[in-house]
């Protein structure tokens, strides 16, 4: 991939992050909303510290998955057809646009995960002995979810049902990521760590990246 490709990708990512900096939706809406969700779970299932510490990691990733979808939903509602036409007319490589949008979403999701991880640690009293794996798991989860969100948002763009459709498209497809993320942390307790799950995540992330880049042009043509 050429320098021009990466320049375009970084420009798109910068645009999306500038938009987020101005609106502050992740900082001021998604993170507090996710924290409330993590706070509600113990109230719903009962305050038993043993149970909470056992399910805490799973709940963390469920919240990350469900709220991560909001990033993609938001994109379908704020990008107008005219904006998308302008991007196409500017001659921006569709694959670079996909890469840039994914980078921006992945960064925001990583910030969201770190914030939720801190909240879960405090609320659920999680054992952090296996959390060294989080250095691998969190970025892979963020990139995978961002790729799925970007592809789904492009697929559902300009349709009347876009905001309703994206969660239905992203949530089931993100299950391999969710499973691998939770199993990685759990495998530390069982067998001191298992590379199989991070490898599965990496494979899913790689497959989604290839599909996203390869299908970016046909998706741009449908606008």
């Amino acid at each position: 991939m050429s320098d021009r490709f990466w320049q375009q990708a970084f420009a798109v990512a910068r645009r999306d992050l500038d938009r987020e900096r101005r609106a502050g939706e992740v900082t001021w809406v998604m993170i507090p909303f996710g924290a409330i969700a993590l706070l509600l779970v113990p109230l719903a299932i009962g305050i038993n510290q043993d149970v909470l510490s056992r399910i805490g990691t799973g709940m963390l990733f469920v919240v990350v998955l469900l709220f991560g979808v909001l990033t993609a939903v938001r994109r379908t509602s704020i990008e107008t057809p005219e904006q998308r036409d302008l991007i196409a007319l500017l001659g921006i490589d569709p694959a670079a646009e996909f890469t840039g949008k994914t980078m921006a979403s992945a960064f925001l999701l990583l910030v969201f995960q770190i914030a939720m991880g801190a909240v879960a640690l405090v609320l659920y009293g999680l054992d952090i002995s296996g959390w060294a794996w989080m250095i691998v798991v969190m970025p892979l989860t963020a990139v995978g979810l961002a790729e799925l969100g970007t592809v789904s948002a492009s697929v559902a763009a300009s349709t009347n049902a876009g905001p309703a459709l994206v969660p239905l498209l992203v949530t089931p497809l993100a299950i391999p990521l969710l499973l691998a993320a939770t199993q990685t942390v759990e495998s530390v307790d069982r067998e001191g760590g298992n590379l199989t799950w991070p490898v599965l995540m990496a494979v899913v992330v790689l497959v989604l990246a290839i599909v996203g880049v390869a299908t970016a042009r046909p998706l741009q043509e449908t606008r």
């Binding site: 009347n160 089931p172 497809l173 299950i175």
Partner: protein, 246 residues
Amino acid sequence: MSDATRTRIGALDIVATVSVVFALVFAIASPRIESQGEAARLLFVHVPTIWLAYLAFAVTFVASILYLATRRLRWDHVAGASAEIGVVFTTVAIIGGMVWGKATWNVYWTWDARLTLTAIMLFVYIGYLALRRVIAEPEARARRSAVLGIVGLVQLIPVHFSVTWWRTLHQTNTFRPRDIQMDGPILAALLVSVAAFTVVYAALLRHRVRLEGLELAAYAAAAAPVGPVAGDAVSAPNIGNSGAQP
């Protein structure tokens, strides 16, 4: 009803019907499995339906790639039709599995990895079909759903390997070429059943693809300029260009 829209019964439909009858005879005639009783005969429906679900979604994946490569709408019709059939057979597989589960595990539903992931796979393709319904323009629908048809394959990997990755209630994969633990007559009945269901899939796919073609023709007809409308006969008055100035 015009000749083009009339349903034609072809050789494939006859073969499908005959093979289903054969499969039914084999299933009834196969020996009883003592440990599970008559409920074990659900094997001859459950395994073929989940096989067809895999096959249908794999066909959707391949047809989606072929559409993006060739841009021929015929491949989009195959992808969409196959996904529809896959959703139907996945639903049948889940319901059949629940009935079988009640007989063997005494519960309709258990949080078994294979069951749960199969249900999630169903939602992936329900999403795919929902996407197809919200986009009316055939080319746009074809391109967008082709992308989803390709991404959807990601979900098939954990479904298939779930019985290996987790110790679950569900038995491991039925067909393991190096380790077949099944009596000859039961295996024969199962293979006949799988073959019959596959022919049924092919027959359904043929009809559904034809219907997709008819839908496309109807869309094109609706989008085409209509015939003469009231007022067409009235032409604008010819004021002429005599050069006279007002």
